[in-house]
């Protein structure tokens, strides 16, 4: 479904991905963990076609993302949604207008149908009361849920989550993590989650991969990661000061 084949990416002299390989199956939730600034978001953006590799290939359902024509990219993106770290809601629009955006801009549905779908998605995420509020009037957790409602409007097969729980309190983090699980359970969505929140990673992931030094140093089930012998992974998941990882 999603495949990275020997992907290399550098920004100036800084090598972020160096021979990155990964294969995510249909309906699977894969979590990439790693330090801040290590390149997790860079990897995620390659799937969305927002970044292109220096070399290597990124495939989504067998279609090569890097080098895809604008038409092919549009078709791919119609089946894909990204939950950005900040929510990326349009500030001057209400919650309802933000959620309606993917459909209202393309004018594929009558307004009544769009309104019905907006109510349905907001109801699903328990946001009915916030419909007429603007993003500045709602909390961080609500923003993430509104952004998720907007993603769901186009019924995507793939959802990419960029740090979905960052900046949220533990309860709200669990609410968002549960929603990610729900998306997989109820809609069969394939998910790529990028996070350094280990509690959330263990809760949502079918498999977890640790990104370090430009590649995945270990990939395994949550249980395998929890009981790992790999010094890098062990230091990271336990938050230990001593070990091979140095603060960047």
């Amino acid at each position: 479904m999603i495949e990275f084949v020997d992907v290399h990416k550098s920004f100036g002299p800084k090598r972020v991905l160096g021979g990155f390989n990964l294969s995510i199956e249909k309906g699977e939730t894969f979590v990439i963990i790693g330090q801040s600034g290590i390149g997790k978001t860079v990897a995620l953006r390659h799937v969305a076609g927002l970044l292109h590799p220096d070399s290597g290939t990124v495939l989504v359902e067998g279609v090569q993302v890097n080098g895809a024509s604008p038409g092919t990219m549009r078709k791919l993106r119609e089946r894909m949604g990204v939950l950005f770290q900040s929510g990326a809601l349009i500030n001057w629009m209400t919650v309802a207008e933000n959620v309606a955006l993917p459909l209202s801009e393309h004018r594929r549905f009558p307004k009544k149908e769009i309104d019905r779908l907006v109510d349905e998605k907001l109801g699903l995420l328990e946001l009915g009361d916030a419909k007429q509020k603007t993003p500045s009037e709602i909390s961080g957790g609500m923003k993430k849920r509104v952004a998720l409602a907007r993603v769901l409007m186009s019924n995507p097969d793939i959802i990419l989550y960029d740090e979905p729980t960052t900046g949220l309190d533990p309860v709200m983090s669990m609410v968002i993590s549960d929603l990610i699980r729900q998306m997989q359970r109820d809609f069969g969505v394939t998910s790529l989650v990028v996070t350094h929140d280990m509690k959330s990673a263990f809760h949502v992931g079918d498999r977890i991969g640790m990104l370090y030094g430009g590649e995945l140093v270990q990939v395994g089930s949550p249980e395998e990661i929890m009981n790992t012998e790999n010094a890098v992974v062990r230091q990271f998941i336990n938050g230990e000061l001593e070990g091979p990882i140095r603060a960047q």
Binding site: L50, A88, S154
Partner: protein, 268 residues
């Protein structure tokens, strides 16, 4: 001796490299802005559904700048009347002040003043707003929804500013004429009737349409430059500040340079 020559050579090389990189940066940004404006023109076909956004932007450019435009207009006319009126008085020709004010305002000052105000207030806000959207992933979110940021953000702003700039220019010209009338009447002892008579005499078709054309072009330049800098903002809040500052400087320079060439084409 040789090491001295080498050091001078390296310094010269460094200067040329710096100039070269700045020229390349300028050309890159200019090319990007021209392409952005071309794409905004292409999306004019989608202007009717975007009417609400266009009207909102027109409101920001016109109504929100009304107070500052009024003050700038009145005081520009008053200063112009005072400075030139005193000189004209030496030749006993102060009654011509109305003619002089309308001529200078329609030919140059009106569009230029409007451009300065709207660059500082509206253009900078556009660059900051779009720059903030860029660094907070909102532009990427639009791309992911297959919504063109040019259609969604740039086109309405270009249409609004290109439309409002001539309106604001005319407003400033009218208020400058009124400000000039106050000074003419109170300081230069030119009656209102005489002032208006000479002012009407100074109204010609060519300066008006050239002035309006200038305003329209300035509107395109300011909106295009501001949106381009906003869309290319990087590195968080610092990048937004940099994009805003650069957009204001570039807009001012482009208004001056393009303004000169329009004058040269029509009056040269």
């Amino acid at each position: 001796m040789n090491s001295g020559i080498n050091t001078t050579g390296r310094r010269l090389g460094g200067i040329f490299e710096l100039i070269g990189s700045r020229v390349m940066e300028f050309l890159d940004q200019a090319g990007y802005t021209i392409l952005l404006l071309a794409r905004a023109f292409y999306y004019l076909k989608d202007a009717p559904p975007k009417a609400r956004e266009i009207v909102t932007q027109m409101y920001f450019a016109g109504v929100k700048t009304l107070v500052v435009c009024s003050l700038v207009g009145v005081f520009t006319g008053m200063i112009l009347a005072l400075q030139t009126g005193i000189e004209l008085q030496n030749f006993g020709m102060q009654y011509q002040i109305g003619h002089l004010i309308i001529a200078s305002m329609t030919r140059e000052m009106g569009p230029f003043m409007a451009a300065i105000i709207l660059t500082a207030s509206v253009g900078s806000a556009m660059a900051a707003e779009i720059g903030t959207m860029k660094v907070y992933d909102e532009i990427d979110a639009l791309e992911m929804m297959s919504i063109s940021p040019v259609k969604f953000l740039v086109m309405p702003r270009v249409v609004a500013l290109a439309t409002m700039m001539p309106v604001v220019s005319i407003y400033i010209i009218v208020l400058a004429c009124l400000g000039g009338a106050v000074v003419a009447n109170s300081i230069l002892n030119v009656s209102f009737n005489v002032y208006m008579k000479h002012l009407y005499k100074g109204i010609h078709f060519k300066p008006i349409y050239v002035g309006l054309l200038k305003s329209f072009v300035f509107g395109l330049i300011i909106s295009g430059v501001s949106c381009a800098y906003g869309l290319r903002a990087t590195s968080g809040e610092l990048g937004v500040g940099h994009a805003t500052r650069s957009s204001v400087v570039a807009s001012f320079l482009m208004v001056l340079i393009i303004g000169y060439f329009i004058t040269a084409i029509f009056y040269g």
